[in-house]
């Protein structure tokens, strides 16, 4: 790979401790010129579902060949596999716990490997608790440096990868029922309902007993008023202009959200 290669990091390490810095140090020891980019390190501890959504929301905005390292890994040191995946010409290094399943729901993977080749671990006896440092980051760094993908370890069937699935949409004559799949920093509630389900219909949104008008952008309503719109990733999103829909409507992950055709 070329000098333009980069490694993108997605973890639940937070930013208080040495863990993120150590990952970057390990990468620099193997391949000093590579750029690392923080996708986020603020995933709630061990929240695989949030990591799945964040990864899905970001990958396609990066150049092809970008290498993503995902370390949201409640099963670290246990029996879950450490894997590498090629997907749409991107590279992903992660625990096999479902964090990649948002991508795999969109398009099939090209090839998956288990990270069994100890030549590309940092040390022969990796830590039981920090495999991001000892297995994932080194794999990414070697890949960035030109290691052929198949050297990382044994090929595994794509169908064997752990999948997390979202609750299915419920399609009714008068509308559609989905749920909240992610709550962002602004308190926007991103639902599981994609733009394609709406097409050119007119609609409003119902959250519990509250009916919410549909619009294009936050400022289509007065400050402090709730609005439903198609968010930047193409999902129906509940927001409050200048405020937090999460706080206003007491939104939680998994809450049902109904669209009603008008």
């Amino acid at each position: 790979m070329g000098a333009d290669q980069r490694i993108v990091l997605l973890t639940d390490f937070g930013l208080r401790d040495s863990y993120v810095g150590v990952i970057k140090g390990v990468i620099a020891q193997i391949t000093p010129k590579i750029t690392t980019i923080d996708l986020t390190h603020q995933v709630a501890p061990q929240d695989i579902g949030a990591a799945r959504f964040i990864l899905l929301s970001a990958v396609n905005y990066f150049p092809k060949q970008t290498i993503f390292v995902v370390v949201v890994d409640p099963g670290v040191g246990g029996s879950r596999r450490s894997i590498a995946l090629i997907w749409q010409d991107y590279y992903l290094i992660a625990p096999d716990n479902g964090v990649l399943s948002g991508l795999l729901d969109c398009a099939p993977g090209q090839e998956a490997r288990e990270l069994t080749n100890r030549n590309y671990w940092r040390v022969p006896q990796p830590s039981f608790t920090f495999q991001g440092r000892d297995i994932f980051a080194p794999a990414a760094a070697h890949l960035a440096q030109g290691l052929p993908f198949e050297q990382l370890g044994d090929r595994i069937p794509l169908a064997s990868l752990v999948r997390l699935s979202l609750p299915e949409l419920e399609i009714k004559p008068q509308g559609i029922v989905g749920s909240i799949q992610y709550l962002d920093h602004f308190g926007n509630g991103i639902t599981t309902i994609p733009r394609s389900q709406i097409a050119d219909k007119n609609w409003i949104c119902r959250v519990g007993e509250t009916r919410i008008v549909a619009g294009n952008t936050y400022s289509d309503v007065e400050a402090g008023v709730a609005i439903a719109l198609i968010g930047s990733e193409g999902w129906v999103e509940i927001a409050v202009n200048g405020g937090s829909a999460q706080a206003r409507l007491n939104l939680k992950f998994g809450d049902p959200i109904e669209l009603l055709w008008q």
Copy 2:
């Protein structure tokens, strides 16, 4: 522009979601070798005044030609303009909502453009809610790659840019009254009173009924004691040695602060 060019990001996106990473991905898709630097992404949501102050406090410490992208943008998708400004040989890409007015209060801009040239948007139909990704970041990336500034869009009068102004200082015979314009992470309260107003006078500071001694640095007073000093950006600042002036004195944005000549 040369290989030393960099893009500095200032947003209210927080660090929990994919938004900052997506901005960096979009930049890398256009110009893979450019370095991005995070000024901060922790501006309180939609706090244009804080963004104004942070930008003003930082720009001059970067090399000339540095490109700043500011996305604190409560009016995204509405009628506010998306603009580019050359100021003191720096480049700024931002919504036209006053975030640049701290700079413009210090020195005139050189040239402003509205980002009307869709050739340099990420997609012809940008998101209504994430123009940082679809309009601002691409403009910055193309500029970093050598696009002539005038290609970004139509020239607009510098005098037409939205300005936020600080409350004026009140000059009295016995002193001067300003206000708190920013509260930092340490709980230091930065006022609107510049060093130039003090010159070589002796002074103390009054906050409500509390009188605070003036000094040079935090450790000029005992631990836990309040002190007023000239902060690192040249503004009178209220601090507590080893503590938080914000908590101790219950400081809030806009609170009046009085200096008394001694």
Copy 3:
């Protein structure tokens, strides 16, 4: 030094203000091509002990010659010295307040200098309150650019550097008593007891009246159960699988932790 050089930043600046960005700007003004890496900026304000531990936990994972800038500096502008240290072929720039003493407890330093050479300060009259910007960052940037170490200022005796020491371990026939030296983002409590004290003995851990089983990794116990293990840096660590040991056991810095041989 070569093009692969990097500067690693460790501060208590937080990520809300302009301070970290300004440090990076100052470095870019002096040496535009250098990469900066954030170790963390979330050290609790003025917590020298936490900075000591984070630095100790990270340095050895970076390539030799890496330059570390530590700005956790309650005594800024006062009489404490600003120093540079070569340690195990790494470079460290810091206030002389004990933040480097974790490293010095492990191995002797090679050479120390006080940053007395004003030619390598940003300005002849540095700020009393932001010497990270005016003294530390410029020193690191000049060093990255090839300045010989001895140019930074006067040589000072290694034995004169301020040291912070951890409370000593208490070795008993039936076990060993240490204490909590750091609590991380996950709520894991890292003790002062190193792996070498355990060797191949069987042990359990006692925290107050609670007895905690020893294991290898978090998932060796059921979700929600406490476990003691050897953490990734080789210290005995108290954790809760899928939870926070800090919250569960009300752990605080300095709390005594006892190991009992079985």
